[in-house]
Symmetry: C2
Subunit: 231 residues, 2 copies
């Protein structure tokens, strides 16, 4: 099917393309990138459906409408596909970190980042992939390091965030920022893993609880008791 399209395409361009069959020099690299993307999208779909180990390369080939031989021109192994997806996925997540500076208060900034992340994961339906990546990271060294890298990024960003807020007198002094960050991250992962929307917990229901958690942990110096209450 795909081959048919390509042959049809060259029909009307006999004069200037049949003689010089290609007027586009960077077309190869372009197409290559598109193919890689196609494979990653197909693989993601399969992995969400059946898990890293449950989905076969043939499944991915079928989903990408591609032969095994073709697929292996772009990725040397199944592991490489898994690692590329883990890497992509984790990189996307980190994009939400920048939103921590948003909002009038430190709590609002934190909440903006967290809620944006939660909403995005739910909307894209990639929740299961998190669990899969987590499980894979327990045994695959490359995936583990990928996870650790993004965790490190988060920890650094959050530590800077908390330190700045503390110095500005916005929050009470916190003695153990390391533990604070680890615990918050663990809880955040739990929120992502459990497909809360499937249990009837929508984003707007979730928000006050997360805000209460943020207030309890960060304890902003002002408006201590009016904020952070679950309505």
């Amino acid at each position: 099917m795909a081959a048919m399209e390509l042959t049809l395409e060259s029909d009307d361009s006999l004069a200037d393309e049949a003689l010089k069959p290609s007027a586009a020099p960077g077309k190869r690299a372009e197409n290559r990138e598109a193919q890689v993307q196609r494979i990653l999208e197909a693989a993601t779909k399969c992995f969400v459906r059946s898990g890293f180990r449950g989905a076969s390369m043939h499944d991915i080939c079928r989903e990408a409408d591609m032969s095994p031989g073709a697929l292996y021109r772009y990725f040397p192994s199944k592991e490489a596909v898994i690692e590329a997806i883990s890497e992509n996925h984790r990189r996307e997540d980190m994009a939400f970190l920048s939103r921590m500076g948003e909002g009038p208060t430190i709590i609002d900034g934190f909440m903006a980042a967290v809620m944006a992340h939660v909403t995005h994961v739910h909307a894209s339906g990639m929740g299961p992939l998190f669990t899969e990546i987590k499980a894979e990271s327990l045994r695959n060294e490359t995936v583990r390091q990928c996870c650790m890298k993004s965790e490190g990024q988060f920890i650094d960003a959050f530590r800077a965030f908390a330190s700045a807020a503390k110095q500005a007198g916005l929050i009470d002094p916190i003695s153990d920022i390391n533990t604070l960050v680890s615990v918050m991250m663990a809880m955040g992962e739990g929120i992502i893993f459990s497909d809360l929307p499937e249990q009837g917990v929508t984003a707007d229901k979730l928000e006050p609880f997360l805000r209460a958690l943020a207030v309890a942990f960060l304890r902003p110096a002002e408006i201590k008791s009016s904020q952070g209450k679950v309505k």
Copy 2:
């Protein structure tokens, strides 16, 4: 080795046991139960090491010091082993629910149950199994129902706990107990999944944060601001 013991045992009982080779009628069932247990322990070890899909039946056989043919006398399939382990594991978890009634305050009871659970999981080194079971529950119907059952038990227990506390005027009225329970459970799972002790977060470091969380969510009517502070 085990066979050796048995033959030695029959030495001094020539008269009444050599003629009637077995004086123990319920020995079969006993031994059967022991074998089942042996398999489950070996399988758990393998699954923690390599994951449900990564561990082969031959691995389990080697670990249990048993041939495939023998193993299949006790479990009809690998899936059956996985399901039995998931079931066992989840049942163990539920045992900690009963401790919620402990302690002088509602917060103490809650904390007793949570900390006991966290400590137990860490001590037994079964953290990875949680992630594995979670991932498996996304695709294996039996495992999913096993998870949902124990979640349901937890929800029921916690709802009863919170309702009683609310009626007794121990905590502020909570409008949305369903959401409260779901969010707390998700966060708790996150704490279990992330192997916090591996990141230097010991139980005693974790405790004040969990307590702050409990106070923020449950908001006991008295001592509102003195408790629930992270030191």
